[in-house]
């Protein structure tokens, strides 16, 4: 699991690569939360373009961060999810809470 963080003003972009299961969920959760607090992040963009697998541990990381971001009245986006990840996000209903876009560029354009 490889995670890249990029901050643009009060927005944090998190690009995850690999399989998002219980092995890595805890570490990613801690790393994102630390950045949210330290850098007073309001908006979160989660790039899942290179995530090949997700299960309920991974979904928990996404939903937990969504709750934190909405608590500070920020916005969260999911970007680049491909099958089978996209299918699981739809199945869990996360797509109804968090807008999903094809690319980071698409969010900049909205």
């Amino acid at each position: 699991m490889d995670v890249e963080y990029k901050q643009v003003r009060n927005t944090l972009v998190v690009r995850i690569k690999g399989e998002l299961d219980m092995l890595v969920a805890g570490k990613i959760r801690q790393d994102i939360d630390r950045r949210l607090e330290e850098y007073h992040i309001k908006n979160l963009i989660l790039n899942l373009e290179k995530v090949s697998f997700i299960d309920s541990s991974g979904l928990g990381v996404i939903l937990g961060r969504y709750k934190k971001i909405t608590a500070v009245e920020g916005r969260m986006f999911i970007v680049g999810a491909r099958r089978p990840v996209e299918k699981i996000l739809h199945f869990s209903g996360i797509n109804k809470l968090i807008p999903m876009y094809r690319s980071e560029q698409d969010i900049i354009n909205i």
Binding site: M22, D55, S56, L59, K87
Partner: protein
């Protein structure tokens, strides 16, 4: 219905083994006439079942034993039994309810995924002895009949 192939293996209750378990099971199930999408669903349910053993059965203890039996039958059916020998489930009916979770980080979706993506799911649990989940799914034959 005869057994066409089977594999039985045992893993330690460490998070590193969740990916190993789902890949091994998917490799065996790929001998059936199923799609890549079917295999992804199998990987997901195995991941959920093994994560449950580690998180609930052993409460993250790393020295537990998880046993996995995958049987392929000649009617294009797979049966996967995943067992732990951990603390067991006190109230099974409650644990099987949608979105019930003792671990909010996982949204209580594990059981829902298993029920949704498999044709059959049976959970047996004895407190302080362990929990076993038996999952069954048919490929091709069931679909052909459904569309007949």
């Amino acid at each position: 219905m005869n057994v066409k192939n089977y594999a039985r293996f045992e893993i330690m209750s460490v998070p590193e083994n969740v990916a190993l378990a789902r890949s091994c099971v998917a490799a065996l199930v790929s001998q059936l006439n199923c799609t890549l999408e079917d295999l992804e669903e199998i990987k997901l349910v195995v991941s959920e079942a093994v994560s449950n053993c580690i998180i609930h059965g052993y409460e993250h203890r790393r020295d537990g034993k998880i046993s996995i039996l995958v049987t392929i039958y000649d009617n294009h059916t797979v049966e996967i039994t995943i067992s732990d020998f951990g603390k067991g489930i006190e109230d099974l009916d409650k644990a099987l309810q949608p979105s019930f979770s003792t671990d909010p980080a996982r949204m209580g979706l594990g059981m829902t995924f298993m029920k949704s993506f498999m044709d059959e799911m049976e959970v047996n649990s004895v407190p302080n002895e362990g929990t076993s989940v038996r999952l069954r799914r048919s490929f091709l034959i069931g679909d052909q009949e459904a569309y007949a």
